[in-house]
Point group: C2
Chain length 376, copies 2
């Protein structure tokens, strides 16, 4: 595999420790890998079943905490064809572990010993967990204002917290500067992370009896999960394992609708938008870095983007908990968006629809319970 | 299958809504079911793979949230043969979901519409989750003093919280009275719950290539997990699928050592003991109700019981998190006990040892992170 710059087309060998284009600063990407039934490593239980679609990491070099195939579970209400991908049943409590196991395994193999990321949420916790498991030094850059509760899990994994004065943009700038000394294990910029997230798509395909669903709805902040799904289903399509892409839908907060706005306008790239705050911290994202690829994911699959309000997220949290699923607000945003798509007839009852639940409600148990109370 | 009373031997048909002996008040049990490789339902991903060892519940009657086989994962330190059964990767965040899916499915099938349990911890949350999924009314009895944080998840699942003045014993008494009107879905008394917990043992056996480990260490409060493992491995032994039982070890808090004390004394039954408090709430149990069966589990397998202090639990929490596993204090007690057994030579390095991690650290994230900080 070779990295290619999304902007200028420059290429780089995939054994380079690199996170963006050295020439123009653009985002870089790995080519889609054709993947079919014969490529599954059935001796593995989860993420690493799809090693042939991942950057090469021999078994002994993998940093693994026992990732298994997460459930594709029924939802008693919401249509007979609705399935929930319960994608938070990972050691650190979110789907980000898919990206972390692949990214950190490969970076360590290439010689990284000291990694960092900028995230005070699920990505930070996940990268800290896998860095600990792999014996890597790890720093997590966060805004000085990040809540202590969110940082507790990250610190528990021995990661060093580096608090940066200023907003999220100041943290991002600090990350770019720090990348001169340590390895930037970015859940946004590293194509390795997205390659790991693709494994959710392969699992859905296997769990449906090696078929693609008609649609997948997923919450989008920086969009690693959406881009991962696109990568998986394109690989399956190229190999002939499926006949067409599932329609991919992005759920966004009404306060942070950068992707939805660009999609609705028919624009080629996203522009930063902030219209308020949101209880869904994982998608409180001013502007996703990979806007063009995200827009292409929606358009080439025939999907789209939907915004949801905090009130709609509260109702979705309530309805999911009433069915036995206790998730974080960001995860409920995808279910809220699905409800709108199904309610307006965009998604047909009877087809097979997947809603991805990205993070555990236990990450912020009291806050989630409070939102559910308010929605009753 | 037929229920049999552990004390007087009275038997009851297994389609009776019953939780203890109607004649003498003793605990009741289900017979061990021989189980071998041909009995696995390979079309199921987790708990229900072992339906042939469970009370009969046809597929359409199962209350399922997509339970999958939980990981049997490596631990970078602690011996080459050590494996962690990451048994909290369930929808409600603990292994109790094994018991809940089986117990509530069967109770609903027998006509229950209104269930209750007495637990302000993992069992309460799990039973509330599956009751919600199955459309059952659910009440959870708790001491009035139970912390609001622990109750938030239970309430989120629509369960009614019934606060009882007095200590845990007062709650237990209230439960016995309430059982006159509603179905007592007890994680302690219901043999159905233990039958569900047995599925962890079958998974370990499959994950080791259809072999038994040399030992399994598990935290014991009321002991549903230990009794479940005993049930599974005895079923495998009877069928000839394994040649001997793994040694079963109970990890107890030094403040609540009822089982360890009776085991060390060579007694036939346990007596209530409280020597202090413990950070491990799940095993802060004055006296397990099924003392004889628990003692038999340890003795017939050649295992034993070990107590651990809060300080030792803190160190275990730290060491597990340093390897990427963020668990609750009760789960760390099993790892602390394993460390003592391995350190003293009771468990030989090179053999295959399993330590069960029973609950997620996210259940009490800030408290767990605090204990880890103190242990550094």
């Amino acid at each position: 595999m070779t990295y290619a710059c999304d902007a200028c087309g420059a290429t780089y060998a995939d054994d380079t420790l690199i996170w963006r284009c050295a020439r123009c600063g653009g985002t870089i990407d790995l080519p889609v890998v054709p993947f079919g039934a014969d490529d599954v490593d059935t001796g593995e239980a989860g993420v690493w079943r799809y090693a042939r679609a991942l950057p090469d990491v021999p078994g002994r070099d993998r940093i693994a905490l026992g990732e298994v195939m997460t459930p594709l579970a029924p939802m008693p209400v919401g249509g007979a064809g609705l399935r929930l991908k319960v994608d938070f049943l990972f050691p650190s409590g979110s789907y980000k572990d898919r990206g972390s196991t692949v990214m950190l395994s490969r970076l360590r193999m290439l010689g990284a010993t000291d990694v960092f990321d900028d995230s005070s949420g699920n990505a930070g916790a996940s990268i800290a967990a896998y860095a600990a498991a792999g014996g890597l030094s790890c720093s997590i850059l966060t805004p000085a204002s990040a809540s202590p509760a969110k940082l507790a899990q990250i610190e528990a994994y021995r990661a060093q917290l580096v608090k940066i004065d200023g907003d999220r943009a100041a943290v991002a700038q600090a990350a770019i500067e720090r990348a001169e000394q340590a390895t930037y294990a970015s859940h946004v910029y590293q194509p390795l992370f997205i390659a790991g997230c693709a494994t959710a798509g392969f699992e859905i395909w296997e769990q449906l009896g090696r078929r693609a669903p008609d649609s997948v709805t997923v919450a989008v902040g920086y969009g690693s999960q959406l881009l991962g799904l696109r990568r998986a289903f394109k690989g399956l399509l190229i190999s002939g394992a499926i006949g067409r892409l599932p329609r991919l839908y992005a759920a966004q907060s009404a306060s942070y609708p950068a992707l939805q706005d660009a999609w609705a306008r028919g624009a080629d790239d996203v522009e930063p938008i902030v219209l308020g705050t949101s209880v869904a911290e994982g998608i409180s994202c001013r502007m996703p870095a990979r806007g063009r690829a995200l827009l292409a994911s929606l358009r080439e699959s025939g999907g789209g983007a939907v915004t949801v309000t905090d009130a709609e997220i509260g109702v979705a949290l309530r309805d999911l908990a009433s069915a036995g699923y206790f998730v974080e607000p960001t995860a409920a945003a995808s279910y809220a968006a699905y409800g709108k798509l199904a309610g307006s007839g965009v998604l047909r009852d009877g087809d097979v629809h997947v809603v991805v639940l990205s993070g555990s409600g236990l990450k912020a148990g009291a806050a989630v319970a409070g939102l559910i109370r308010e929605a009753r």
